[in-house]
Symmetry: C2
Subunit: 215 residues, 2 copies
């Protein structure tokens, strides 16, 4: 990874659309993040197919008991995932099962940026970030829409990777997220809803490059 | 539903095994609960295939932002799910998205019975049960291994359905779960790991029948 600092959130439902966006943009992105709606819409082999073009992060928000978490992660890795995204609120043993089954390739959700995220996740975010570090996760997910929180999370997780959604259509800025300590920004609609996904991705990649050079 | 009060937790990975267990046991169960490992292992069409034999509850522990939750539920229902299982801790708006997309066919996880479930879920269980009722969910999930908690949950959710995992191999008793207020018990390994799944299911169905008659 770490070519452009962009992770493409491929939040589409159809195989054809998914593949065409990846084909057009893969040179401008570091990884593709896919979620359950695409797996349900296109079948689980879509993980394998995309993984042949770009590293795939399965954003499965895994949140079950340890044995089920283990099975989900094993299946995802077998299908070609490079990493998975799991929740921390189901507890230390559930997160550990994900870490063990993936060889540490887990990003942990700390808090979520939608309004309901304030009810239960925000208040536990720092505890969950600490757990992510202690359990040997690869990194955490922290929203670009609250960049000051990224800085706080960086303090807690130290050298772990921080990947940051909410850039583009949701209002977050790549430069803010990276400036406050994120390693990668996650961009969805701004790229896949564009008439020219490659140009849209390249534009963000250039903005990031300019920002990082100027830093 | 409500023939034997048994929901089969079909925690297997292979299509052939899944179909054979359902074929053998469908007359002794009210519904089949499937989880992500089976979808990843056998493909999402397994939902449709099983739904032609028994109502399917997609135990997807849905825990994402509202729009993603909506898409997951829509896809699951389109594939034939009768209901889904969602988490409440991602907040009111996320749960509401599941309720709206499924026409209310949502069971909400209140607390979880594994050790890590005590860290973040147990403390919020009553608040989440209240949310389930207020948002118009069909029911909640509460562990048979802590039957006194089922009674507490019944107090909170009133007429909602309570489905209760942990019966059998995990140590919970069907009679305890039902006696303390559950509507359905969820049984997995005791049935699908049996050499004779039909007999195993029938045996539990008879125990439940005896218990309910004696009550």
């Amino acid at each position: 990874m770490q070519k452009t600092r962009i992770i493409l959130a491929l939040d589409v439902l159809q195989r054809a659309k998914a593949i065409s966006v990846v084909d057009e943009t893969s040179q401008y992105i570091d990884a593709v993040k896919i979620n359950w709606p695409l797996v349900l819409g296109a079948g689980s082999r879509i993980i394998t197919e995309i993984s042949e073009k770009s590293p795939v992060i399965c954003d499965f928000k895994i949140a079950d008991i340890p044995n089920t978490n283990k099975l989900i992660v094993e299946q995802a890795m077998k299908l070609g995932a490079a990493a998975v995204i799991a929740h921390g609120f189901t507890g230390t043993d559930s997160l550990k099962a994900c870490v063990d089954a993936s060889g540490g390739k887990v990003f942990v959700v700390t808090e979520m940026s939608h309004p309901g995220g304030k009810e239960f996740t925000s208040v536990n975010a720092e505890r969950i970030a600490t757990m992510a570090r202690e359990q040997g996760a690869m990194g955490i997910v922290a929203p670009a829409t609250r960049p000051e929180r990224i800085a706080k999370m960086r303090e807690i997780v130290g050298p772990l990777q921080i990947i940051s959604p909410g850039v583009g259509a949701q209002g977050g800025k790549a430069s803010d997220a990276l400036g406050y300590g994120a390693d990668f920004v996650i961009v969805g609609r701004t790229i896949y809803d564009s008439d020219r996904p490659a140009e849209a991705a390249q534009k963000i990649a250039r903005e990031i490059e300019d920002f990082l050079i100027g830093k």
